[in-house]
Symmetry: C2
Subunit: 192 residues, 2 copies
């Protein structure tokens, strides 16, 4: 099984590396970072650079594609090599599909024709989507379970010792203090 993770300028690092760390543990799978061209790709903070080992053209038919988000994603939406590659790889994309995304981008998701769901991750047909940033870890564990069963998912979870104990219960707009939710919303690139 070949798992490809596309990288683009200004991606969100944990969006890519969280699912990577889960899926790289799948038996008989190979995980590869790809981009328009092989080479270095820098994240949204400009402080982290990951290497894409191959270009899209080198990996025409991966079994799974894990697409990270990030501020650079907007530039990938129209006529980009990434979009072309996703379509080549068989995507009708999310039109009419149930999907989720970063809580700040839910309206954007609806505008793009998907049916937004306020869930940690959503499976609809062959598409899996995750909420913001760290949610890709949960999505990848669920995906591993669909591929290889619950025991495999549990083994991978214990392997990354994923027993989350955040110091606060503030990871969702429904649990964070309202002032913090409002503050992030005001500074969001999706703010109107």
């Amino acid at each position: 099984m070949l798992i490809a993770i596309p990288l683009f300028d200004r991606f969100t690092a944990l969006d890519a590396v969280g699912p990577f760390q889960v899926l790289v543990g799948l038996p008989d799978a190979r995980t590869i970072f790809v981009s328009e061209q092989p080479g270095d790709v820098t994240d949204e903070s400009r402080a982290l650079t990951l290497r894409a080992e191959a270009g899209y053209a080198d990996v025409p038919r991966p079994d799974i594609i894990v697409v990270p988000g990030g501020p650079g994603q907007a530039r990938q939406m129209d006529g980009s090599a990434l979009r072309d590659w996703l379509i080549l790889a068989g995507a009708g994309l999310l039109d009419g599909r149930q999907a989720t995304t970063n809580w700040l981008a839910m309206d954007e998701l609806a505008r793009l024709g998907a049916k937004p769901r306020h869930q940690r991750y959503v499976f609809d047909g062959k598409y899996a989507t995750a909420a913001g940033v760290s949610a890709g870890i949960d999505m990848a564990l669920a995906l591993a379970g669909r591929i290889g069963g619950d025991e495999l998912s549990q083994r991978l979870q214990l392997g990354i010792e994923y027993d989350p104990q955040p110091p606060h219960n503030a990871g969702s707009p429904t649990t964070a203090p309202p002032a913090i939710v409002a503050g992030l919303r005001a500074r969001s690139r999706f703010a109107r």
Copy 2:
């Protein structure tokens, strides 16, 4: 504030990138990946390569150092540039300190003179340690709270939408099915 994350051959990617994604959001902080020499460093899976922007000698006095784990860590324990750098940066290391680590390495931690604690993360003086892999995210959020207060920690948590919902409750040896715990223990590099 300067935050340095040392990389070495065969580090664990999420150990480095989880805390990175939290700490890069601190106001007035700069986060930098470092290594013995500037350049590419490859993780334990050989599928992920991160770039170290500077050598240890270029960053003599960071305010915070986040050291990842991984199979390559053993080679860093004796006479390595990383160990020298940590000592230069002021470490008496963990001798006599309360600390935690990956559940598979608890005995190793005791052997090294620390007082092992079965916790998600431990603060003892200026040292913070985290349990395996994904625990660095929780540790980094707690660290952010100590640096800038609970509101900052909550803002960073909502920023990475860290509202964990793993599909199973198998992230700790106390919650995972015993057969899965035994299986990982048998294959551990810390197994005797």
